[in-house]
Amino acid sequence: MAQAVPAGQKWWSGGKSPFHVEYGKLMMWFFLMSDAFTFGALLISYGTIRMSSNSWPNPNEVFKTFPIVGEMPVPLAFVSLMTFILIMSSVTMVMAVGAGQNNDRKAVLKWLFFTILGGLAFLSCQAWEWTHLHMEGAWWGRNPFMNIDGTQSSTNFTNYFFTITGFHGFHVFSGVIVNIIMFIMTWKGTFERKGHYLMIEKAGLYWHFVDLVWVFVFTCFYLL
């Protein structure tokens, strides 16, 4: 909320929020910070285990399939598509928040609809990827892939992959549920009666956080 703030405003003199945001939004920020540390712990433990291994599977070899094209190797193409879908749905979510600030109910509905669609598209992609890896023999406790130098790989790779992308996918799933609830509430005019769409902003923060986490998951599993 970057609106006209008088110069020399005394934030800590009491009677108002020293953070200049609504209570619920501040709490959403604190929740997201705790969630960031949860994901951070998962990803850092993955990094520690990877650092303590002499070799590791090559992501370009593991993630090289794409639906429809069959056996043709297209390294990282599919996961880049997933990244693009998530960034795109983040944009539509910002648009929904912006429409909410203009109290434009119809536009909020439209953009929320696209965001939900994007979330579902991402989840479908992940379902396909998991199914595909499972058919190749990868699962918790099973790793069919060799290390990059041709040595035997441990199951650390698949354990971390399924745990972390699974935890992230669960966040996307709850984000979609939250967005659907927001959609229904907007549709029924709940926010119009309240006179503001701040709830959409909180859902938006959560949704962007899911996108943010994916950026790190993408780097740690597919690029490094």
Partner: protein
């Protein structure tokens, strides 16, 4: 503080803070960075043109840049007042310690184990023979 009574006054002062152009610019920056990352990853896969650890450095910088844009523009943090930026940003500095401490712990563990557990070391350096199709070895399968 009752949010229902204080919220409307913050809601309508917000109007001009929303800038569609800025959002699309952020979108294009994020897309461009992702395509760039993908490009060098594939180039490395095809030609090994740079040492992997330099490449990893590039990837990490790119990732942090993307994270910055998502937090600053999409989550709107850059446009909040300094108190909020600080209360969110400063605790996240813990990640500096978190990453450095645990990564170096992993490296140290690898070195210790390679030195003192020679059997494990030999095993981890011996390439396994590429197993042929398991299907073909099943009895009754051509």
């Amino acid at each position: 503080m009752d949010s229902a009574t204080t919220a409307p006054q913050t809601a309508h002062t917000d109007k001009h803070s929303f800038d569609t152009r800025l959002i699309w610019r952020t979108f294009w920056v994020l897309t461009a960075i992702t395509i760039f990352e993908l490009g060098i990853a594939i180039l490395y896969y095809e030609t090994d043109f740079l040492p992997k650890h330099i490449l990893n450095g590039v990837f990490i910088i790119m990732t942090l840049a993307k994270a910055f844009f998502i937090i600053a523009e999409f989550m709107h943090l850059r446009h909040e007042i300094k108190n909020l930026i600080m209360v969110v940003g400063v605790p996240c500095l813990l990640f500096l310690w978190f990453v450095i401490a645990f990564m170096s712990d992993g490296v140290s563990y690898r070195h210790l184990r390679n030195r003192y557990d020679r059997y494990q070391y030999e095993q981890s350096k011996t390439p396994v023979k590429k197993t042929e199709n398991h299907e073909a070895k099943k009895p009754g399968v051509e």
